[in-house]
Amino acid sequence: MLQQFLAFVKKEMLHILRDTRTLFILFGMPIAQITLFGFALSNEVKNSGVAILDPARDDDSRALIDRIDASKYFDVVSYLHTPQEIDRAFKSGKVKMALIFPQRFSNDLHHTNKATVQMIADASDPNVATTITQYASVIINDYQKELSPAQIPYRIKSEVRMLYNPQLKSAFNFVPGVMAMVLLLVCTMMTSISIVREKENGTMEVLLASPLPPILVIIAKAVPYLLLSMVNVATILLLSVYVLELPIAGSLALLVGESILFTITALSLGLLISTITNSQQIAMMISLVGMFLPTLMLSGFMFPIENMPIPLQVMSNIVPAKWFYLIVKDVMIKGLGISAIWKETLILVGMTLFLLTIALKKFKIRLS
């Protein structure tokens, strides 16, 4: 029995290893994703183009413009001469913010003690607009403070300390999400497709006619993908520790254990999908559209769940990746133990049992 089972696992392994193109993508995907998410993507806004309309051209306005240009958040890309040019500058797409100085900036500032700077932001991206106006205000504020060297009485000094992620790297938020995404993709999509392919090619009948019980036939199909996923987990963790310099704060054993649990959840899902469809194309569509998009959207790593409308917030609870994301975040980044994540773990276990039960009930020993 065990020998037969191992023979099936070996057959499935050979199937996977033979298809080098798919294999390449299966292993390349996590590497590409981690690199992309870790290095290329950040919500931090840098190097935004600024247009300047400065009819004053005095010492203070120049000094302020130099400050803005010198900061890593801004690049002064054009100097305008008339207010009419502002609209054109925005429409060309190179400018995210326009700074407008009054005619007599220095004069106003030093004689009436009050000068106004107008800031126009391209709010087509509201996030960028909010962030850059804040950055610019801070720069202007600092400049203003330096103008009045006299000590102001009664200062409240606030010290800001960033917990868990002092350098504010976006990788801290993304790596747990990528782990959830890659595991789900590899397991759900690949298992469902590999089972449905046997159905489509007619080889499923051959397999079912073998002396091995049908349940074991199916499990033998899932085992290689479990192993593959473990390789992916190891790749992701190694990359994030050694390339992204994101340390694993909590227990490694706990993290690996939870990953295995989540992989099994995803495998059960793939199994369920394979029992309800007969064509590879549809299986792919269900796993891509039905699994991948909700995972990307509702697990909370791309978009904050608390900003969503209530129905979507409720829906996010049935997305397994959401719970896994919470677990990985707690264990890997905050360094918490099992006492903090037992609830999420139980939910995942419950989901797995539920999915497996339905999948096995729906699984037909006979075809057509």
Binding site: D19, R21, T22, I25, L26, G28, A32, Q33, L36, F37, A40, L41, S42, N43, E44, K46, S48, F90, K91, S92, G93, K96, A115, T116, V117, Q118, A121, A123, S124, P126, A129, T130, T133, S137, Q144, L147, I152, P153, R155, I156, S158, E159, M162, L163, Y164, N165, L168, F172, N173, Q280, Q281, I282, M285, M297, M302, P304, M308, P309, K329, K334
Partner: protein, 372 residues
């Protein structure tokens, strides 16, 4: 020419015969357009704050009141024990801990300066940064307020002050959907163009009908045209559906010329169909085609500026972005729909897209052999 007409008829029939594909092409975009923008909202509002108050003075209480009445913050814990507050952060029930040290009010009065500690949960860097920013500016204005009260400052400023006024153009209500919807339309058009073309051709390979076509006198350029034209039309239809849904559901009416959008999408679709064709020449099975297309799409979307601005990427990623057709289309759609940019503003992107179209299609045709 007659051959082409027959091929086109065959393709269209195949598309309309398979309800699953048709549904996928027409209903999926609508559902995604309605759901995705609802979820994609990065706005940082309602920051959860826990206060550790070791001072328990009138001043500390007034400060907390000022913070909670600002509308940005929700007080989730008010305690004098550090562990309790840290616990709230661990459970994601607090984003920021504000620690008011003992004798805060007394220190401020006596030494003219008193410290406050903010500890921010920075797992999500953006949220942390903005949350801390909001809080610091509230604390500053509180500081100003008490200073004026204690010193009885004159109304006129005694030190130079730069006043900043803000205006938000093109999206004054800062509505995130205005920004996401045009981008998502692009993704949908891209999906139809690259995924479905690649899958369609590889399916013929897998099922074996490719060989049948190969032994007929149909020339390869006719075969390819016969495949590309239906999906080009489909792409334009998806764009139209997208614009209609954007208008009906979100009330987004393009500020610029719609003709410009279609002009650009015609060229864009040529490029992206060429990509689908290219994928199909490299893939043997639908599974492979799907994975390659998926892999490329992921890179295109993530490096396309849909979710995170291209300017904030490191230089090497920005270089990759220049070879990403999707990023140009996203840029152009947003420019035309939100800002009303004209032809001269997008002519550079249009030219680049033309180059993409030529290169990808020539590559695909060279790589396509009339042999199985």
């Amino acid at each position: 020419m007659r051959v082409l007409r027959f091929l086109l008829e065959k393709e269209f029939r195949q598309i309309f015969r398979d309800p699953a594909i048709l549904r996928l092409m027409l209903i999926m975009p609508v559902i995604q357009l309605i759901l995705l923008p609802l979820a994609a909202n990065y706005e940082v509002k309602d920051v959860l704050i826990a206060v550790i108050d070791h001072d328990h003075s009138t001043l500390s209480r007034r400060m907390v009141e000022k913070i909670t009445s600002s509308g940005y913050f929700t007080l989730t814990g008010y305690t004098s024990r550090n562990e309790e507050a840290l616990n709230l952060v661990e459970k994601d029930k607090a984003d920021i801990i504000l620690e008011i040290p003992a004798h805060f009010e007394a220190t401020l009065l006596r030494e003219e300066e008193a410290p406050l500690m903010l500890s921010v949960n920075a797992v999500n860097g953006t949220r942390a940064n903005l949350g801390a920013g909001y809080l610091t500016s509230i604390l500053q204005s509180f500081n100003q307020q008490i200073r004026q009260q204690w010193l009885r400052l004159p109304r006129m400023p005694d030190q130079p002050q730069i006043e900043v006024t803000y205006t938000n153009w093109f999206n004054p209500l800062m509505n995130y959907r205005q920004f996401m919807v045009p981008g998502i339309i692009v993704i949908l058009v891209t999906m139809v163009g690259s995924f479905l073309t690649a899958l369609n051709i590889v399916k013929e390979k897998e099922v074996g009908t490719m060989e049948q076509i190969n032994v007929t006198p149909v020339k390869k350029q006719y075969f390819i045209l016969g495949k590309l034209i239906p999906f080009w039309v489909m792409g334009q239809i998806v764009l139209t559906i997208g614009l209609v849904v954007a208008r009906i559901v979100y009330g987004i009416i393009p500020v610029g010329n719609i003709g410009l959008l279609y002009l650009f999408s015609s060229v864009f679709l040529l490029a992206i169909l060429g990509l689908g064709l290219l994928i199909s020449t490299y893939a043997q099975t639908q599974q492979q085609a799907m994975l390659i297309a998926f892999f490329l799409m992921m890179i295109f979307i993530l490096l396309g500026g849909l979710y995170t601005p291209v300017e904030s990427m490191p230089p090497w990623a920005q270089t990759i972005t220049r070879f990403n057709p999707v990023s140009y289309f996203i840029e152009v759609v947003r420019m035309v729909v939100m800002k009303g940019s004209g032809f001269s503003d997008i002519s550079r992107q249009l030219g680049i897209m033309g180059v993409f179209a030529v290169v990808l299609n020539v590559w695909a045709i060279l790589n396509y052999h009339k042999r199985a």
